[in-house]
Symmetry: C2
Subunit: 393 residues, 2 copies
């Protein structure tokens, strides 16, 4: 069964679970303002106003512009794909009238960006459409439906993620032999990008910062492209990197130490930092299981890092991964304003998380490990092959 058919069937079950009559994804020019739910509903971009309407009773209908019809009909996920040339209102109003749903879930959310694909202009248009259909005031947020659809990964989705993890690990393995004093961050990133291209893959996020390479002290810390800075002995080098395989991402970080002349291993300050991060990752992994909140897991990690005498990391311990490197709603994070209610969601089986604590070793650089796990019935399972020793150059 195609991914789209499988996810549309899954959505039907979620409508019953969350007591909603239909779920409407309403988008246009998805190459410009893409609703992140569209990948589960259509095989590519749509151009004109397009509505994807899934009902609790199992019916699925799309209303799209004429040129977008064929590819969507061929998914086999819809009972009917209605195509229009001049205007979407009439076919959409007529179909919604015939459904007469009491509760209509649409893709907006203050808390969760991944559930917030409906633009405000399209919300206003949909309000008009619903009023015309005699259904004013029936819209609710689809946050729970969209979250569960993304978060409860199917076997096929987990398989794609596993392949994305393996490909990223292979490339980390190759670049380990390329890193040497005198190389710049940019050269290291270019080497990895070439490996991504050679495998016919794409980076998991914008190529400018995937991989991100941070060498030594006084870096931008994160979210910044590789620079002309030269790898130097005595420094720590960390990298953040992932690839996309069949539409699914990996997201991993690895840390290297560049030995000075005569050193056989990392010096005590670097070794202590790495051991602290390693302990944090392992304790976090053991704290993950269905039914706990992400807040609790984050607190375990934050406590270890701070307890070891380091500044607390200014970000969440981990996020979900899926079609995007940052995906899903539930978050392994602190109860900071910017994270809204995301850290309070309960973890569920099938969620894929990163675990990525970080700390700074003064004068050396940033020590991070980012692993990936899937939440199983009784606890977390590794998706990545955990880094257990700092990689020595």
């Amino acid at each position: 069964m195609s991914l789209i058919r499988e996810k549309v069937r899954q959505a039907v079950g979620l409508l019953a679970e969350f007591d909603v009559d239909c779920w409407v994804t309403f988008t246009r020019e998805s190459g410009i303002n893409g609703d992140p739910s569209l990948v589960f509903l259509a095989p590519g971009d749509v151009t004109w106003h397009s509505a994807f309407i899934i009902s609790r009773d199992g019916r699925a209908r799309a209303v799209v512009g004429r040129y977008d019809q064929r590819a969507i009909a061929e998914t086999g996920a819809y009972d009917e794909v209605a195509a229009y040339v001049t205007g979407f209102r009439e076919p959409l109003v007529e179909y919604l009238k015939s459904l007469a749903p009491a509760k209509i879930a649409v893709n907006y959310s203050k808390d969760s960006e991944i559930c917030d694909g409906l633009t405000h202009g399209m919300f206003l248009t949909l309000e008009e459409v619903l009023a015309e259909a005699g259904l004013a005031g029936r819209m609710v947020s689809a946050e729970r439906i969209v979250s569960a659809l993304r978060e409860r990964k199917t076997a096929a989705e987990l398989d794609a993620i596993r392949r994305a993890v393996r490909a990223a690990e292979e490339i980390f393995g190759k670049v380990a032999g390329f890193i040497a004093p005198g190389r710049t961050e940019r050269e290291i990133a270019a080497f990895m990008s070439a490996e991504v291209g050679a495998r016919g893959l794409a980076p998991a996020w914008a190529a400018e910062t995937c991989p991100a390479v941070f060498s030594g002290p006084d870096t931008a810390e994160a979210h910044y492209g590789p620079t002309g800075k030269v790898v130097a002995p005595g420094h720590v080098l960390n990298m953040d990197f992932g690839v996309m395989v069949d539409g699914y991402c990996s997201d991993l970080q690895r840390t290297f130490y560049i030995r000075e002349q005569g050193e056989t291993g990392a010096p005590p300050d670097v070794a202590k930092g790495f051991a602290t991060i390693l302990r944090t990752v392992e304790a976090s992994m053991r704290a993950i299981r269905p039914g706990v909140t992400g807040f609790e897991v984050d607190a375990v990690a934050r406590g270890i890092v701070v307890g070891a005498g380091y500044e607390e990391f200014p970000h969440a311990l981990g996020h979900q991964v899926g079609r995007f490197a940052h995906d899903g709603t539930a978050l392994l994070g602190p109860r900071w304003e910017k994270y809204a209610r995301k850290p309070l969601q309960l973890l569920e089986e099938g969620m894929v998380f990163t675990i990525e604590p970080r700390l700074t070793v003064p004068g050396r650089g940033i020590v991070t490990i980012e692993e990936m796990v899937v939440v199983g019935g009784s606890g977390a399972e590794w998706l990545s092959t955990p880094q257990t020793d700092i990689w020595l150059v």
Copy 2:
């Protein structure tokens, strides 16, 4: 001056022109739900809630998450880039209070998707922020500001588009020698994609349909990926293709005829179709000048095609091109419901349009030409080198 500094300065002038006190772009996780205005305001993606606030008096401020600060500050476009760790509300509320704007333009529009980057969830959050700042009820649509910012192209923007047109034309020139009976649509597309990659460029829209290749009769017409269909004598082959150079796009279509044994040129039905399209493109180009509406230009083209006995094309004659292959608000299109008020906008100097009529020659295939023009002070100027004869294989 960097593009971002140049566009932020341009925006300040637009605020005075459209009598608005400040323009707020409010977005988060732009890799997921990207506001299309962000490319003019920041050098890459942002992760957490981020506000970019341009004032009529020339002040420009950004409020962003800590890891996103450095790259944005380095653009030199902002007086201050405030960074937060736990929450954006306090710094944003305080700054808006200090500005006390009477009219605040934000990125939503029912009519124009390119001006509709604010998601509904973020709109609701911004409503709360403004209420907290004592500025409730002051939001207006930024449609006119965002449209003009994208549509009035600077010299640097036009230069990038010219280079994108030249690169696409070069690749069309190369593939002309590759097309032959027996080749499949997919093989032709792969040849072009390899040429794009070899130049270190990206396709102008999703790679699955860029290039789009349609061979012979009974195709999906448009918006569909190349298939295993084999190029055959007596058929017309058309292609839709563009590349992105320094963030700016080209978008062109070219038509070929595959000769049968003994034919020296295209047969009369194909020649008549091509001559009709050519005439339509030329008349449309002459109808374009500042101050006319796109509707008038579209009507000229539609009249020629229908007058020559063909079915009218089920889409607009032409759209603007810029950061996206489909860009801007003003449209060379009919007054169909789905196009809203876009065809009623007046054309302005600096706008870049495609001209792309199409018609079907029964039993042969689809004949299209898509050229690109820029609106000059007294009329349109070609950006592309117009196709004047059907390309014979």
